[in-house]
Subunit: 309 residues, 2 copies
Amino acid sequence: MEKVYVLGHKNPDTDSICSAIVYAHLKRELGMDAVPVRLGDVQNETAFALDKFGFEAPLFIEKASPEVKQVILVDHNEKQQSVEDIDEVQVIEVIDHHRIANFETADPLYFRAEPVGCTATILNKLFKENGVEIPPNIAGMMLSAIISDSLLFKSPTCTVQDIAAAKELEVLAGVNAQEYGLAMLKAGADLSDKSLEDLLTLDAKEFGMGEYKVEIAQVNAVDVNDVMSRQAELEDLIYRKIAEKELNLFFFVVTDILNNDSVALALGSQAEKAEKAFGVPFVNNVALLKGVVSRKKQVVPVLTEALSE
Amino acid sequence: MEKVYVLGHKNPDTDSICSAIVYAHLKRELGMDAVPVRLGDVQNETAFALDKFGFEAPLFIEKASPEVKQVILVDHNEKQQSVEDIDEVQVIEVIDHHRIANFETADPLYFRAEPVGCTATILNKLFKENGVEIPPNIAGMMLSAIISDSLLFKSPTCTVQDIAAAKELEVLAGVNAQEYGLAMLKAGADLSDKSLEDLLTLDAKEFGMGEYKVEIAQVNAVDVNDVMSRQAELEDLIYRKIAEKELNLFFFVVTDILNNDSVALALGSQAEKAEKAFGVPFVNNVALLKGVVSRKKQVVPVLTEALSE
């Protein structure tokens, strides 16, 4: 039987790591030699979840071939967010909850995207549809992913389906979602061991918007000022990235997990479009985005529209 | 409540028409004001199915706006196969069984593609997943679509899932799949009322392959020679299409529904690539493709590979 890698996106967040582990488990139960892998470092929040439910971090890979010929993507579909040699392997399945772009296949495949808050919410359905039982630690992985992506059910990306799935999963996992979730988010918002470079790369994603190349990095924090007090140094690092990657916009979002707002720093030739996109002035390149916590729902669509005009 | 159009691809085949009717029915049962529409003429085969199960042809449209702001795509996802003003409306769902290409959204959506032989096979699952009962005439529409796409279960695109769905649906529809299916396919292969222009357009689809623009038209026939005896006239018409649409290849496939082979006619600047793609000589632009009946599985992938090199 051919080995298949199950992988989330670059700069993996908790959903990308947990969903790879969970879906590989389901596919193995269904008879596939599926192995979860990751494309980057495990973050503090994710490490907390893995430790709680007794999992090791998945194997780190830079390339999928020649080890495997086929891969399954979870939590992403855009080529530039995936494994480097994605064009040299066959994508046989995608399970995702993001917009669809820069994705193309020669053959039909199983592609399941749903407008829910978390990949794990879809995976929870797939266990049921396939009649496979969910072990407690796998339930814990899915619950962790949903809590992470929904900021403990407070993000506008969170749907009734995510909440319903989390309610089922907390029973199966044997934890209290609120208590466990807050502890996990706080572990993730502890930035004390992070360099500024880390903050800009840990959860950074690149997007094509109109004719422009945009990178959006996000970090969660308990105190936003811990990060923003070092704006000048951050800008030096960001300008280097813009030059290196030929970006038209770098958009850095620091999200306050207790108040559910974000502070954004916009740099690059298209930075002024951010003002128009969000309808707020950026003073010294910075603006407070009230109620904005979701890159996917509250940042990517408005920037895409502003940059596509 | 906002009206939503449910639409299959241009030059609609039986799956595109039936799946639009069936999925609009399911979405109405689930509370959406969903209306099935079509982007082209109803073919003889489809008319036979509609008549048998007591449906009218869906509303013909050229554009979706301004009547609706949102659409659901069935049986296709590639932009150039969809409604003309697809960029001016929001695609809120896609149910499909083809390769994914030229599809992009600004927001997450419900996208369900599976590598099965027919859209209706996925729709049959969606009724169950949503706990909605399937009325006999809706079952008949799904059965017709599966028979059409699978050439009565003989195409290599036909999966065990399609056969299982058809078995369930023939009971619900109260017909014998083999008897009904052969009658339906013969109605579709009756070309006596068709002009040559019809043959080239009734089931024609355009594809981007590498840097090339390729159109592939297919007709089913009981006697392939009825069509190919008029090759010279066909070529005149095809060359006009190549010029008009700036095509690099026009690939015309006449499929023998009794013997399950096809004869192909290849014209255009990239026509010689077809020889390489299929590993057979094209004599006077024509070749017999033994055992080839499926555009999706046996034609598009090999041409895509040959033209992408």
